[in-house]
């Protein structure tokens, strides 16, 4: 099986067909060992051993290593090809729904439907864990919907504002 692994917008091809490991076509002597009953996994390569704590995410794996954290999207070749054919992409165009990252209370709504905004523009201020947290737009574009009002209590994942990204 061949996998495309994307971490921080950089993609690496890993081919695991036939009990070898090829990274971008280059053979690598790597083994992964698990500590039973824990998320700890040890990647052993000649001259280097790396221990990760690894957990599954919706689209791959989260890796913790020496205080750093990386989210790896792992896509097998077939799925990637399907995606390419159907034109799915992760660009900045299209509809973006900003949802509540945690349960909280809406304190302020800082945009109105129709507003043209820059990426990073504040959308909603949410109070959670006694702190005010401003949620911002991931993209530049137009506000197409505002779903909440000040005083609303929202659960994690509640859609707050929709932004139509510039293509």
């Amino acid at each position: 099986m061949r996998y495309s692994v994307t971490i921080a917008d950089r993609t690496v091809q890993v081919d695991l067909s036939g009990n070898r490991v090829l990274v971008e076509g280059r053979p690598v002597a790597a083994e992964l060992h698990t500590v039973p009953g824990t998320p700890l996994r040890q990647l052993a390569e000649p001259g280097h051993t790396t221990t990760f704590a690894m957990t599954r995410t919706a689209d791959g794996w989260r890796l913790l290593h020496r205080g750093e954290v990386w989210d790896a999207e792992v896509v097998d070749e077939r799925t990637r090809q399907l995606r390419e054919m159907t034109g799915g992409s992760s660009g900045t165009g299209g509809r973006h729904v900003v949802t509540a990252p945690m349960p909280g209370l809406v304190l302020r709504v800082e945009v109105e439907p129709g507003a043209e905004i820059e990426a990073g523009r504040g959308l909603v201020v949410l109070e959670a864990m006694k702190m005010e947290n401003e949620l911002t737009s991931p993209v530049a574009g137009a506000v197409t919907a505002v779903h909440v009002s000040p005083g609303d209590a929202v659960d994690k994942g509640t859609p707050l504002v929709e932004v139509s990204g510039e293509p």
């Binding site: 971490i7 890993v14 990274v23 083994e31 990647l43 790896a72 792992v74 864990m129």
Partner: protein, 508 residues
Amino acid sequence: MAECPSAIVKRVLIANRGEIACRIIRACHEEDLEAVAVYSEADRQSPHVHLADTAVEIGPAPSKESYLVAEKIIGAARDAGADAIHPGYGFLAERAHFAQLVEQNGLTFIGPPATAIRAMGEKTEARRRMEAAGVPIIPGSGEAVASADDAHAVAQQVGYPIMLKAAAGGGGKGMRRVDGRSDLDSAFRAATSEATTAFGDGAVYVEKLLDRPRHVEIQILADRFGNTLHVGERECSVQRRHQKLIEEAPSPAVNVDLRLAMGEAAVRAAAAVGYLSAGTVEFLLAPGDVFYFLEMNTRLQVEHPVTELVYGVDIVREQLRIAAGEPTTLPGRPMRPRGHAIECRITSEDPFNKFLPATGHISFVRTPSGPGVRWDGGIEAGNDVGVYYDPLLAKVIAWGETRDRAIRRMRRALDELVIVGVPTSQPFHRRVMDDAAFGSGDYDIGYLETHGERLLETRLDDGALERAAVAAALAEHEARGATCGVARNGPAQDGSAWLRAARLHGLR
């Protein structure tokens, strides 16, 4: 007050949760005192409940219905036969009314007298008292201002930029920086509104904003035998929105003479309000060794461990002794710090997402340990991190012979720490330990503003990227194979293909 009869303290209720409840329970056990925990419905399985000798449920998860209800705490103390209450920090710790209620119910409050809490809690009143006691204060309005216009009048005297501050507050809530008249109206409204929400009192006052001072605070211990002692300073300038993130002792900016001067000012501040128990006098330290009174925290401080490590004292133990009418064990003369200590607050906040608080189920924890590392934790594997409380999960504290050694040790400890299940501030701390600006010791309360963006850039060199990608692919491959339960490379002709596959994937 030496003639004051000793209170009998045998069973202490800790009116708190998380790491500080664990810290206080440990101190109780080391003093042969029984510890009573309280817990909300969300906290039944929290570590503080496990460590205590008994635990009393005090209501639903929201603090306003549990940890903040003074009557429920008093009731729990009575039910459990406790004779004293330690409030920890936050929650009811700085509510004078609560301290009073505890004493009225014939229980010992492990903290300062209600009068001292009240005197320091009303910030403009505290300013006046400090001024009278000869403690340097920041130029400002001296009392609450009624409007943005009044604030502007004061600002014209002391000069912009100014700071609006909640008169009833503390902990960074109800505070706004104002750079000029044009910002003042909105800032005044925001500060008043936040102060009303947080403290039930919207009054705000004006202080001159110092240009990038350091936040340096002095630990105080006062007993009933007339000893009011200072126990060195803590440097707390690494802050975000006035919330401390990293603290250290001693401060890289404080020498022996300055330590003595600040210590003596702090003792005057504490003595001016008849202080007892542990407390902290916060100062802003400006270039030229000029310092100004900021506020006094009339309680145990989150960052007390760094003081404990360099002075070899146990501040919670001193609180327990003082509450029981015993003298402090500290020498009367100024103590000398040994080595250096740093604390990193590990919170359930995602540094790569503007430190937004996060929730989740903690499935695995590997705590750092070994030489010079202290873990003051409030979580264990199996716990849920919810939305109801402060996001502080645990504190990592490192001691070293020098500041450089303490930083290296903290770096090593943060390399070891693993928390699976919720994003934490760990990566931020880890990067600060590598940062030259922090390493130099020459930083101020603008540290995060100046260096935060750079510190939190994506960091992934080619080698790390490749290793992480290979690990993720192998794990995915294994997970898919294990799910299907069939050989992935065609039917096995003999055992060796299986063996190789098993070896490759770390199956036992």
